[in-house]
């Protein structure tokens, strides 16, 4: 009996010795000395570690197996330092890394975010993308567009929550009882933790704008590409960006029952963020009527009939008929009547001028000449020069 026992011990020792290609881990010694105890403690766990240790060491960090299961993915820093102890860009101090990432254009920043998880964490940071947002989109993204964005992300958040709610309970149960990485990553996915872009991040906004997924309210100058009927006007539209052509598609609200065809290829120069928060069908309350005097630049709302949306039309305040235009003797400012001139029309044209009452102007007009609505006095030089830039080459009828 004893002989039999000794033989099994011996063969076991030989077995142990032949298995690993590298020095045995410390606990193996204990195994040799106390074979009985070893067999008693044996679990699936230990045998698989033994097998693992026969593989070349460069693929497996020598950490306890249970830790690598339960702990979330190892920080990429450990894996990224190459075998030869060379320095990697990830080893640079934070300040230097920041310095580098700040100098990347948006496309490169996006690509870098796809390289590894630690870079991704840094590349998703809001302050990096804030600069790009400002630089590219500041001129046409205004408060209205920002509100639309809040709506957009609220809707996406809601739909994400609905999806997660279904799976959360089951997945959590499975991950506790079956600690393999594939299930763990599924939990991560539904938990949307490590890799997914937060819906309310600035990067998400930037990408949504660039890819054209996000449509936002803006105003288009000289719509329908110089259509004579809309010269020196600015109309509200829902726009989306086309990054291939660096232009926009504009969708206008319908004129009555007739849907307006979308306009493609709208360049940046013909777009602006709505300067006031008045929706296109609402009358803007004029607040500077008493200030208006000859020479002022203005925009006035105008629509063909009451079913159509307003557009904003550019004009200047002119002199009354009784005034000869001499600055020293001009008393036009004291009058209740204000003359508005649209000098891109010929002098005989019915669109050339209109008269409004300074005291109680709201909306005035008729079915023939259309309806004149609220007035904005232009104070900003940029706005005025933009209108001048868009002046038609030929005078209109």
């Amino acid at each position: 009996m004893l002989l039999y026992f000794l033989i099994t011990c011996f063969s076991f020792i030989l077995f142990i010795k032949s298995l690993p290609l590298k020095p045995l881990p410390p606990w193996a010694d204990e195994m040799r000395l106390l074979p009985l105890r070893f067999w008693k403690d044996l679990s699936l766990f230990h045998i698989s570690v033994l097998i693992k240790n026969t593989l070349p060491s460069s693929y497996l960090p020598l950490v306890p197996y249970n830790m690598s299961l339960i702990k979330k993915s190892l920080s990429s820093k450990v894996e990224n330092v190459a075998e030869t102890e060379e320095m990697s860009v990830l080893d640079l101090p934070e300040l230097a890394l920041e310095c580098i990432l700040e100098r990347l254009p948006p496309a490169a920043l996006c690509s870098t975010a796809a390289v590894c998880s630690s870079l991704r964490e840094r590349c998703l940071s809001d302050h990096l993308w804030e600069k790009h947002m400002k630089r590219k989109w500041d001129s046409i993204i205004g408060p209205a567009a920002y509100r639309e964005w809040q709506w957009y992300i609220a809707l996406r958040r809601d739909s994400n929550n609905l999806k997660q709610g279904k799976h959360k309970g089951l997945m959590r149960l499975l991950s506790l009882s079956w600690p393999f990485s594939s299930f763990r990553s599924k939990v991560n996915d539904t938990g949307k933790q490590r890799s997914s872009l937060p819906v309310d991040s600035i990067m998400a906004w930037y990408l949504a704008l660039e890819t054209g997924r996000f449509r936002f309210p803006a105003q288009v100058y000289n719509r329908e590409n110089g259509n004579v009927g809309f010269m020196l006007s600015c109309y509200d539209a829902e726009v989306s960006y086309d990054c291939r052509t660096d232009t926009f598609q504009a969708r206008y609200p319908p004129h009555g029952r007739r849907a307006a065809a979308p306009e493609n290829g709208v360049p940046w120069e013909r777009l602006r963020a709505p300067p006031v928060d008045t929706p296109p069908h609402d009358l803007h309350i004029s607040d500077s009527l008493h200030e208006l005097h000859p020479g002022n630049h203005i925009e006035i709302q105008w629509r063909r009939n009451k079913e159509f949306p307003y557009g904003w039309w550019y004009g200047v305040v002119g002199h009354l008929e009784s005034c000869d235009g001499n600055e020293n003797y001009c008393r036009c400012q004291n009058s209740d009547t204000v003359v508005l001139e649209f000098n891109h029309y010929t002098p005989g044209s019915r669109w050339r001028r209109t008269i409004i009452n300074r005291k109680d102007h709201r909306e005035e007009g008729n079915e023939a000449d259309g309806f004149y609505g609220g007035i904005r006095k232009l104070k900003n030089e940029n706005e005025i020069s933009t209108w001048k830039r868009l002046w038609p080459a030929e005078v209109l009828e």
Binding site: S88, L92, I100, R103
Partner: protein, 159 residues
């Protein structure tokens, strides 16, 4: 920057520096103050012994001082300086990181910017795979994460 003597004159005071591997360097004050660290030391009154720099090795310190020398020269034109910088920073990654770390440690803003810009230029225009290969970075995303990240990145690689 020292307002009195030009760095070419030998009457300017010198600073003694000692690198991590015990190499010593002597450098004009006007050149050394390109580094904010030395600038404060000079303003506060420098000690007589060599200043130890345990974070910078001799080779890198020599390069950095060469750069400072060039940039402290008042006779050099901006064009020449730009050309010099372009050649100076065209080095392999290991040297680049050494320069970057030294510029960071010694607080030499312009050199840090130059080195960071160089790394940024190495990243621009590359796909994530190419970036990984250039910088020897391991992809540690799971396949699901990889898929999500790739979708997001389709825009960057697009037109």
């Amino acid at each position: 920057m020292s307002s009195s003597s030009s760095p070419m004159q030998s009457t300017g005071r010198k600073l003694k520096l000692k690198s991590k591997d015990d190499e010593t360097f002597e450098v004009e004050e006007a050149v050394a103050v390109k580094s904010q660290i030395f600038k404060y030391m000079v303003e506060d009154g420098v000690s007589n012994g060599p200043i130890p720099l345990p974070n910078v090795n001799g080779k890198t310190l020599a390069r950095v001082l060469q750069w400072c020398q060039k940039h402290a020269d008042p006779t050099i034109t901006e064009d020449e300086l730009n050309k010099y910088d372009a050649g100076f920073i065209d080095v392999d990654q290991a040297v680049l990181y050494d320069l970057l770390m030294a510029a960071n440690y010694l607080n030499i803003e312009e050199l840090l910017k130059l080195a960071c810009m160089r790394v940024a230029d190495m990243i621009k225009g590359k796909s994530p795979d190419e970036i990984r290969r250039t910088f020897n970075i391991k992809n540690d995303f799971t396949p699901e994460e990889e898929e999500e990240v790739r979708k997001e990145n389709a825009w960057a690689l697009g037109p």
